[in-house]
Amino acid sequence: MDCCGGTTEHEDDCGEVKVKDSIDAKTVEAAKALESENYSAGFATTIETDFAPKGLSEDTIRYISAAKNEPEWLLEWRLKAYERWLTMEEPTWAMVRYPKIDYQAYYYYAAPKAGAKYASIDDVPKEILETYEKLGIPLREAEVLLGVEGAVETAAEGREKPRVAVDAVFDSVSVATTFRKELQKAGVIFMSISEAVHEYPDLVKKYLGTVVPQSDNFFATLNSAVFSDGTFVYIPKGVRCPMELSTYFRMNAENTGQFERTLIVADEAAYVSYLEGCTAPMRDENQLHAAVVELVALEDAEIKYSTVQNWWPGDEDGKGGIFNFVTKRGDCRGDRSKISWTQVETGSAVTWKYPSCILRGDDSVGEFYSIAVTNGRQQADTGTKMIHLGKRTKSRIISKGISAGKSDNTYRGLVSVNRKAVNARNFTQCDSLLIGEKCGAHTIPYVENRCASAQLEHEATTTKLSEDQLFYARQRGIAEEDAVALLVNGFVRDVLQHLPMEFAVEAQSLLKVSLEGSVG
């Protein structure tokens, strides 16, 4: 296998799985079988799809741009990124190994034949609606139940029924965005980025690429060249977004890559909570997902960005699965602004992702809460960067990594304090849990402090589940797997507390699924 980067520690480990004597071989087999079958989002939807010509070239980019009827400036922007990308090399520093990616073997654009965007939800093809329903995102019901057209809700009603507006992205296009009109009343712009390019070109032009520049890194540059759809959110001055916003990314077509781009701008004193979910069908081939997310928080604004990443992780032998190479960065541009990233990572064959905060405004705050669970042959190299530039900026990093099966889970983070970031503060805590003896947990924190008055603390531990705790739970009659799930959920509680409620429930169950069959 032609591999990129990583360590050689696994090389002796390619044969049959060796199991401790104390564990029943049948149980292990059964658990192994469960792992891939447990992926409930692994179905594929049969729908006629339009593809861009396979492979990546200037023509592909022109095709995408034309398909979206984009203005000339954006095409130029894409081509410039592509030109740059050709000169770049794929990074190999992450602690992940995967076969060499053939960038010409993917379709860079796939859209349902019936068209990209539908005037109303009724026009969305049945197959797509069913797909989202099956995934627990009933687009139609949400709108109907709460009455979109003309229905005026009372504040009390709004409180009773927590609402989530959804932008549904299916392969390369956004197929539906719910509650748009509702949100418009509050002045909130919530739409796919392809639409925003036409409807709010000035806003898009003003902020696109200002947090993650075109040529930021190999995958972000690729995204800049071929990005298909994603979400654009703008919260005007002083507005607290009346509902949770979310995007649900679904990769469906075979041999495609998904390259969405999300841009969220919170103007002065605005607040928004945004959720992101992702799933994909079980396929034998690896699929590529290289997204870019840019957040801009102006003075006193706050953005809460939560992700539940459940891309197809590949089967127990490491066949298939998504390569998740994502660049996410938030810019606390204004004083007293706050950006908080919360992520629950359970999917993907390979993850390479470092949601970051540039703390530019004085007194701005960055937070990163993460749970990364790897199982089977999954590899995750994830963490955050906190770049302290402004005075009295604060950041907090809480990262919990859980490795099981034959997986590898790496926390990689940077805390950097500029000379001028007087009285900056950082607290980092990263814990790793190993379940079984064939997995790996790694912690690679980078700390760069150039300011004497800054105070940085980092602590980390790596342990296995406490046998005493497990025994305590077991002797109370709790089955071993339930006990592990219980203890693990206790271990990750800190992080889950920061997830919006709807997602916390989903995340809890995801966590259970990922850990089944891992006791050992």
């Binding site: 480990d13 520093w93 700390v447 008055s453 105070q455 980390a460 531990t461 342990t463």
Partner: protein, 408 residues
């Protein structure tokens, strides 16, 4: 050969060309060549290499020149110790060694496995020797009562290289002190230790160089069953100074204490880098690094614990790095890293970085203690913990050196 090597280092700097020329003057030797090729792979390490991003020899060392500053005075006492002296051109050793210590001056180079992981160590191995200096200086320690060995690296010159190998036999113990006193434009030494079952090593490194010098001290140790190693470093840095230690726990029950303190003033850079591999079950590592940095100074700490699958079970390891930035303009970079593949282990690491506690300063100031002195007192108390396990003969001297630096 020299021409081919010259081409081997991409875009060589003047300093690298001079190193190639020095290599060309050495007698031909396949093992020396392998060591040099390992170095030539990257040339002088630079910031684009992961392990050297904060310690850039290529940028700091433009040419091999004799620095203006003379060597520092050696503060470590030599009474009761056997003194060995390395200068850029010479080497001195006691005429007679007591029983239990055997020294072999080898004109040829020994093989240097793993050279590619330590480019500066490889360079030292490739260029050690010539003139009166041994290519490899080897010691066999068979006594548990052997006197302290004291190594001094000093003297004016362009460059000084040394390679020293110690074999500490089962049950024997070695107390070793090293003083790196500067004087040469580039000093690179590599010391290797092989500790057999139950062997003991107490190693202390004192380093003080000029602001125009480059220094790399590479230590590589293999610990046998129940062997014990304690290392204490006090480094004041140089233009660029790297104190690198790689330890492998090779058999179960070995113990390692790895302590260091760095004090880095204006124009000085001190790098403490360690890599510990828990290659056997039930081994213990305790690591404490403390640093204090002034305006214009740089401190670097890079620690790594590697715990392999199966063999690393029941590892008990703890890594702590704490740094004080005493003034604006000081900078500290740290990377305390864990790479773990065994599930039944206890590994922890901690890293803190900040200024002195205002409340403590205030307490001392209101007792009438001037600011500089108060700062020195608090910093000394902070640093002292990392020096506490040094050999008795030198512990107080190290503390006094730290004190002097802090109060000046």
């Amino acid at each position: 050969m020299t021409t081919a090597l010259r081409d081997f280092i991409k875009n060589p700097t003047a300093a690298e060309l001079e190193l190639v020329a020095r290599y060309g003057m050495q007698p031909e030797d396949a093992r020396r060549e392998r060591a040099f090729l390992a170095f030539a792979e990257t040339g002088l390490p630079h910031r684009r290499m992961e392990g050297w991003k904060w310690t850039d020899f290529k940028a700091a060392l433009k040419a091999l020149e004799t620095p203006a500053a003379a060597s520092a005075k050696d503060p470590l006492p030599d009474d009761g110790a056997l003194v060995f002296r390395f200068t850029p051109k010479g080497f001195e050793a006691p005429a007679k060694l007591p029983d239990g210590i055997r020294m072999v001056v080898q004109p040829g180079v020994q093989a240097f496995p793993g050279a590619e992981d330590v480019p500066m160590g490889a360079l030292a191995a490739a260029l050690a020797g010539g003139g009166k200096r041994p290519a490899t200086l080897a010691f066999e320690i068979t006594s548990s009562e052997a006197p302290r060995l004291h190594f001094v690296f000093e003297g004016a010159g362009e460059a000084s290289f040394a390679r020293i190998v110690f074999l500490v036999r089962s049950g024997a113990s070695l107390t070793l002190t090293e003083s790196y006193l500067g004087g040469a434009g580039l000093t690179a030494s590599v010391l290797e230790f092989d500790l057999e079952r139950g062997a003991k090593l107490n190693r202390t490194i004192f380093q003080r160089g000029g602001a125009g010098e480059a220094l790399a001290v590479t230590g590589i140790a293999h610990l046998g069953a129940e062997a014990e190693m304690t290392q204490t470093t006090l480094a004041f840095g140089a233009k660029v100074a790297r104190m690198e230690t790689r330890v492998v726990h090779q058999a179960s029950g070995s113990k390692l204490n790895l302590n260091a303190a760095y004090l880095s003033g204006k124009g000085f850079h001190a790098d403490i880098t360690t890599n510990v591999r828990h290659g056997a079950p039930s081994c213990v590592t305790r690591q404490l690094t403390k640093g204090a940095v002034l305006d214009g100074g740089t401190g670097v700490f890079q620690g790594k614990f590697f715990v392999p699958r199966k063999t690393g079970q029941h590892t008990d390891a703890d890594m702590q790095h704490q740094a004080l930035l005493l003034e604006d303009g000081a900078q500290v970079f740290a990377k305390p890293e864990l790479e773990i593949y065994a599930d039944d282990v206890e590994c922890a690491h901690g890293n803190t970085c900040g200024a002195l506690d205002d409340a403590q300063m205030f307490y001392l100031r209101q007792r009438g203690i001037p600011e500089t002195q108060a700062r020195a007192m608090l910093t000394e108390a902070f640093i002292a913990e990392a020096l506490g396990m040094a050999d008795e003969a030198v512990r107080d001297v190290l503390l006094a050196e730290a004190q002097n630096w802090l109060s000046s």
